[in-house]
Symmetry: C2
Subunit: 200 residues, 2 copies
């Protein structure tokens, strides 16, 4: 977290330039791949040495491509958020707003059962431009989905995208600690979250 960035050309803050050498590019990909796998299995709190080990490189090589752990997390988390954004945006074209909302929540829940990084991405207290942007996009997409559901009378009058985030990340946090991986369990909590936001 000590960047002491030279002024230099205005490079992206979160993504370092693409390495020039082939081996470096290969390693970068391996690290992202390994990080995605480890984060999926253990959550975003997983430890760098383990990611490096799985990628078959040293710790310093990780830090070469990603100036801090946060940058690495952001690289993985951004993808997950974009997935959510797409999911929610697509659901906006569903004629039944209530069913659309339910389908989105269930899809997130189901994916979360095999990938801790999904909810982690919504929860992470990391603020890098790229990630903030992706988070905002997913927030808006879910917000739009909720607005439709509410207007259609399917959801609570005061339901918000923040509620979705809080319920999902909250449950995810507990379930991750107990290493719960059964998709059925996650589907069940998905139902409960939908019910929590449904109009009574």
């Amino acid at each position: 977290m000590t960047l002491t960035s030279e002024p230099g050309p205005p490079t992206s803050t979160t993504t370092t330039l693409r390495p020039r050498r082939a081996d470096a590019r290969r390693n970068r990909e391996r690290v992202i791949q390994a990080a995605a796998e480890i984060f999926a299995a253990k959550g975003l709190e997983a430890v760098i040495p383990e990611i490096a080990r799985r990628a078959g490189v040293g710790k310093a090589t990780v830090y070469r491509s990603f100036p801090s752990k946060e940058h690495l997390v952001a690289a993985v988390a951004t993808e997950r958020l974009e997935w959510i954004t797409t999911l929610a945006t697509d659901a906006l074209s569903d004629p039944d707003p209530g069913a659309a909302f339910e389908r989105v929540i269930m899809a997130i829940a189901e994916r979360q059962s095999g990938d801790c990084a999904v909810a982690g991405s919504l929860a992470a207290d990391i603020h890098l431009p790229e990630l903030d942007e992706a988070r905002m996009a997913s927030h808006l997409a879910i917000g739009a989905l909720i607005d439709r559901g509410r207007d259609a009378g399917a959801l609570r009058d005061d339901a918000t995208a923040a509620d979705v985030r809080i319920l999902i990340t909250g449950v995810a946090h507990v379930l991750r600690e107990t290493r719960e991986r059964d998709p059925a369990v996650w589907r069940r909590f998905g139902e409960m979250i939908v019910d929590a936001l449904r109009r009574r």
Copy 2:
């Protein structure tokens, strides 16, 4: 966590003997008091030096009364769990099982808004006999409450005490991180949790 206990008389594992000297007893009380306040404000992850500072004693004095941080947490958490147990047990005599369940959840939610240690006690991954016992008691009491609610057709067929724990501690975890202290927010999530478990 390195107890190296002399054989000696079979003392309780979690509660150290009452100190012989008056000042030591006074300090012990101060530490518990301070711990309760700090844990309430910042959650069970709060740091020992801060508790010592608020109690007006040194770190070592804390460790004199409580062999490890877990023991101190357990001392505070046990009380909270006993409060929950009483709450749930009392509610069993309510003629309307659905309303009783709702009242208990709302009471927990409301108290939680001003005391992070409540949900923390349900969530803590600490296993000391005294605490495990209190946790089990609260679990059984809530379980009984839920059984009644389910039999009366007010709650989901598959609702369990574990669900209550997961939903409450999950939401609590997120709300604590955002330093949310508004009781109204907590009441609202209390409603949602009740709805999540209600029969549709």
